[in-house]
Amino acid sequence: MKRSNLFSILIALALCAVSAAAWAAKVGEPAPDFTGTASSGQTIHLSDYRGKYVVLEWHNNGCPFVGKHYKSGNMQRLEKEWTARGVVWLTIESSAPGKQGYVTANEENDYLAKLQASPTAALLDPTGAIGHLYDAKTSPHMFVVNPQGILIYDGAIDDKPTTDLDDVPGATNYVSLALEQAMAGKPVATAATRPYGCSVKYAESTH
């Protein structure tokens, strides 16, 4: 079977499987478990990290909203700060092959090195299976999972839905807030917001 045909079938199956499930990630409920392949080649399950806070960051290196957070060094700073405090940070690319943001493992590793980004792992999700499981809509779209595996934040990275680098310093960062409040044993005040950014470039559904 031709590789491209096999790939299309796999995408179709993945989409059928995901769309058949009425389940979408919802704040206050268990975050759906998933299996992903990291750019390091490692296989990763969300459940591997039970007992730790986990941040999921949907990413597309061509999107200007993502660019705002990387050109300013904001995302790199957040990754460094929170991984140093024991948080697992997973950056996830759900762009289909041929679409903006799609990267091979080597390209992703080069990108991370060049931008000095230090997520715990970068997951390559070209079939969009993980993206659809979480109904990730934009890049960036952020999720925070607590050590008990419950989703405690779903939405925008901060309260400035723009592409202006000037809007980074003064913004309220919802991810940091959620982590700080949860770590202090307090309820997360803003648990869900509208994520802002470019649409996730999923493979088109074949049904």
Binding site: A24, A25, K26, V27, G62, C63, P64, F65, K99, Q100, G128, H132, D135, K137, T138, D154, G155, P161, T162, T163, A191, A192, T193, R194, P195, Y196, G197, C198, S199, V200, K201, Y202, A203, E204, S205
Partner: protein, 285 residues
């Protein structure tokens, strides 16, 4: 005579500042408009952009005595890519802004109107942010404003594309279940226009409904119900359901679009087969 603004190039299109009048009328209202023309395959966003994107934002630089209102948004279109659904405009659109002029404004030969527009132009593949500086020079003249003939048809078409108040014969209500809103319309008697064959609700507020979910329509001769899935990012159900409803009548009638603004019943309806009344249930999730 006003100076017509030249269209400013933007990514994959052009943008110009126009007015429906050849002069600024003290003590009256006139309209400014942002006229977007976009290349095929590119769009801008509605006030609620949907799952992704951002609407254009305008900062006015107006002479003293000119008081701008808010953008009057034409009926949007729906764009779907896989599971991501956005609302906006492709091809061309005029975003009108009413401007109220102080009666005390003195006549003058030319007054400079400026606008800084921050915009996002996207295709299915990518988004390009940008900023345009627009300007228009008009005289201030007492008396009834003279329409600008060049752009009159633009304003007429834009006015027609604005959502209208729903028919007075429609009794509109909104209820909710744990995972959906139900927008209901009762016509009382047979609707003169015939049964509605399709309907689409565009929410005015972000993160209230799941934009990618199908909207189930139950349509009868004297009423219809449209079910809207709640958004996963909706934590506190709103008190009002606000948006634009586009309905088709199936015969050769054109689609109609209505502004919807109805209170959402606080209580979850307890559905008994055959019952038409809604009883209150315990609390709202």
């Amino acid at each position: 005579m006003g100076t017509n603004a030249r269209a400013t190039p933007i990514s994959h299109g052009a943008l110009e500042l126009v007015a429906d009048s050849q002069s600024i009328p003290p003590g009256r209202e006139f309209k400014l408009g942002l006229h977007f023309q976009l290349e095929k395959g590119w769009h801008i966003y509605w006030v609620n952009p949907g799952d992704s994107g951002e609407p254009p934002r305008v900062e006015w630089h107006l002479p003293a005595g000119l008081n701008p209102g808010v953008i009057e948004w034409p009926t949007p279109q729906r764009f779907q890519s896989s599971t991501v659904v956005d609302y906006g405009y492709e091809d061309a659109v005029l975003l009108m802004v009413p401007v109220n002029v102080d009666a005390s404004l003195k006549p003058q030969r030319s007054a400079q109107i400026g606008a800084t527009v921050k915009l996002l132009v996207c295709s299915h593949e990518m988004c390009i942010p940008g900023q345009a500086e627009l300007s228009l020079t008009l005289p201030v003249r007492a008396g009834l404003p003279v329409p600008d003939n060049k752009d009159a048809s633009l304003f007429t078409a834009a006015q027609k594309s604005l959502p209208q108040a729903p028919p007075q014969t429609w009794k509109l209500t909104a209820a909710q279940t744990s995972d959906s809103f139900v927008l209901s319309a009762n016509f009382g008697r047979r609707s003169a226009g015939g049964e509605i064959t399709s309907a689409m609700f565009f929410p005015l507020v972000e993160s209230e409904i799941r934009n990618s979910a199908p909207q189930k329509l139950v349509s009868q001769k004297t009423n219809f119900q449209l079910t809207l899935r709640k958004s996963d990012q909706l934590l506190n159900p709103p008190a009002w359901l606000r948006g634009v409803l586009v309905v088709s009548f199936g015969n050769s009638q054109p689609d109609r679009t209505f502004s919807i603004d109805v209170p959402v019943s606080k209580n979850l309806p307890v559905r008994n087969p055959g019952a038409t009344k809604m009883s209150s249930a315990v609390g709202v999730r």
